[in-house]
C-alpha cells in the first residue's frame, strides 16, 4: 500500500508538518480563548436560576468533554500501535495521557466548586461523579504503567490494553445521568431535540470547546515531537536536523 497517510503518519514527516502547523494553531487557540472567555464572562446573560455562578460552565463543561475526547484519541492511537504497529500511535497515546488526566482533574475540581453553591455539597457519590473519578484513575494508571516499564515497546503494548479496557467507562460516564438517578442533571447540549440552553449562552460554550480542543492538539503535537526525538534519537534524520539547527 502506498497511501499518503503512511507518509504523513511516519514520525519523521509528522515532526516537520506538525512543527510547521503549530504557530498557526497557537494563534488560533489564543484567539478562540479570548473570544470564548470574553463572550462567556461578559456578553452572555446571567442564568435565570443560578445567576452569575453559572458562568463556570464555560470552564467546566469543555473540560469534561475533553476528558472523554482525549481518552478516545488515546485509546484509538494506542490501538493502532497495538494492532498495526503504528509507531506514531504509541507516541500520541503516551503524549495524550497527562493532558487527559489534567482535563479530568479540572472537570472534577470546577464541578466541585460549582456544586457547593448550587447543590449544597462539594462531592456526592452519584453515578456521574464517580465514573468521572474512575476516568481520572484510568489515566493515572496508564501514566504509571508507562513510567514503570523501561522497554518502550512493552510499555506501549501494556498501556494499550489498559487504555482499551478503560473505554468501557466512556459510555457509562456519558449515559450515567440517564440510566440512573443522579444529583448531576441530565444532558443539556447533546440531546436529540434542541439543546435546552439559550443560543446566547450556547455560543461561548461551543467556542470554548473548540479552544480547548485546539489547545489539546497544540500541546499533544509538541509532546509527541518530544516522544519522537527520544525514540528516534539514533535515526539519521534526527542527527541531520540537529546539525542543521546547530544543536550539536
Amino acid at each position: 500500500m502506498n497511501l499518503p497517510f503512511h507518509k504523513y503518519g511516519s514520525p519523521k514527516y509528522f515532526y516537520s508538518w506538525s512543527l510547521m502547523l503549530s504557530p498557526w494553531l497557537i494563534g488560533f487557540c489564543v484567539l478562540l480563548f479570548a473570544v470564548g472567555l470574553y463572550t462567556g464572562l461578559f456578553v452572555a446573560p446571567a442564568d435565570y436560576q443560578q445567576g452569575e455562578s453559572f458562568r463556570i460552565i464555560y470552564v467546566h463543561v469543555p473540560a469534561a468533554w475533553m476528558s472523554l475526547f482525549i481518552y478516545v484519541v488515546m485509546a484509538s492511537a494506542a490501538a493502532s500501535g497495538l494492532i498495526w504497529h503504528v509507531k506514531l500511535g504509541d507516541m500520541i497515546a503516551r503524549a495524550s495521557a497527562p493532558l487527559g488526566a489534567w482535563f479530568t482533574f479540572l472537570a472534577l475540581v470546577t464541578g466541585s466548586l460549582w456544586g457547593k453553591p448550587m447543590w449544597g455539597t462539594y462531592w456526592v457519590w452519584d453515578a456521574r461523579l464517580t465514573s468521572e473519578l474512575i476516568l481520572l484513575f484510568l489515566y493515572l494508571g496508564y501514566i504509571a504503567l508507562q513510567g514503570a516499564i523501561d522497554d518502550r515497546r512493552v510499555a506501549a503494548r501494556a498501556g494499550a490494553i489498559v487504555a482499551l479496557v478503560g473505554t468501557v467507562n466512556l459510555p457509562i460516564i456519558h449515559y450515567s445521568v440517564e440510566w440512573w438517578n443522579t444529583l448531576h442533571q441530565g444532558p443539556t447540549v447533546s440531546k436529540l431535540d434542541a439543546p435546552s440552553i439559550a443560543p446566547s449562552m450556547l455560543m461561548p460554550l461551543l467556542i470554548m470547546a473548540v479552544a480547548y480542543t485546539v489547545y489539546f492538539v497544540v500541546v499533544m503535537f509538541a509532546r509527541t515531537r518530544c516522544e519522537i526525538l527520544e525514540f528516534e534519537r539514533n535515526a539519521a534524520w534526527v542527527k541531520e536536523r540537529a546539525l542543521e539547527k546547530g544543536v550539536v
Partner: protein, 150 residues
Amino acid sequence: MTPTRKKRLLIVLAIVGGMGVAAALILTAFEKNLMYFYSPSEVAAGAAPHERKFRVGGLVVNGSVKRVPDSLTIEFAITDTAHEMTVAYTGILPDLFREGQGIVAHGQTRPDGIFEASEVLAKHDENYMPPEVASALADAKAGAMQANPQ
C-alpha cells in the same frame, strides 16, 4: 490486512467486547445500589430500605413549604407527579431550594410517615436561559392556562 494483524484486531475487539459485556452485567446486578436516590413512588411502593437511611428525590410541591417559627425546622412535600411525601428538615438549605425545584434529601422515614432529613441538596435542571426568557415562558404558560383552564 495480514493474518497476524487481523488476529490482533480480533483479540482487541474481543477484549473490548468482553469487558463491555462484563461491565453491563455488573451494572445491571448493582442497579439498585447505583441509584443515588429513590423517587416518592418507589418509597410508596415499599422499594426503599426501612431500617437504614436512604435518599429521596423529587420536586418541592408548590405552596407546601412550612417553617416552624423560631427554629431552622422546615416541612415540605416532594413529588414525582405520581406520589407525594412529606419531608422535615432542620438546618440551612442550599440557595437553590425553592418551590418547584428538584431536591434530594438524605434521611429516614419516621413512624408517623414523615421523612426526617439530615441533609437536603438542591438538584438543578439542565435548562439555562436568561431571566427575561424564563419570565416570558412563565407568562406564556400562565396565559395558556387562562385561555383554556383545565
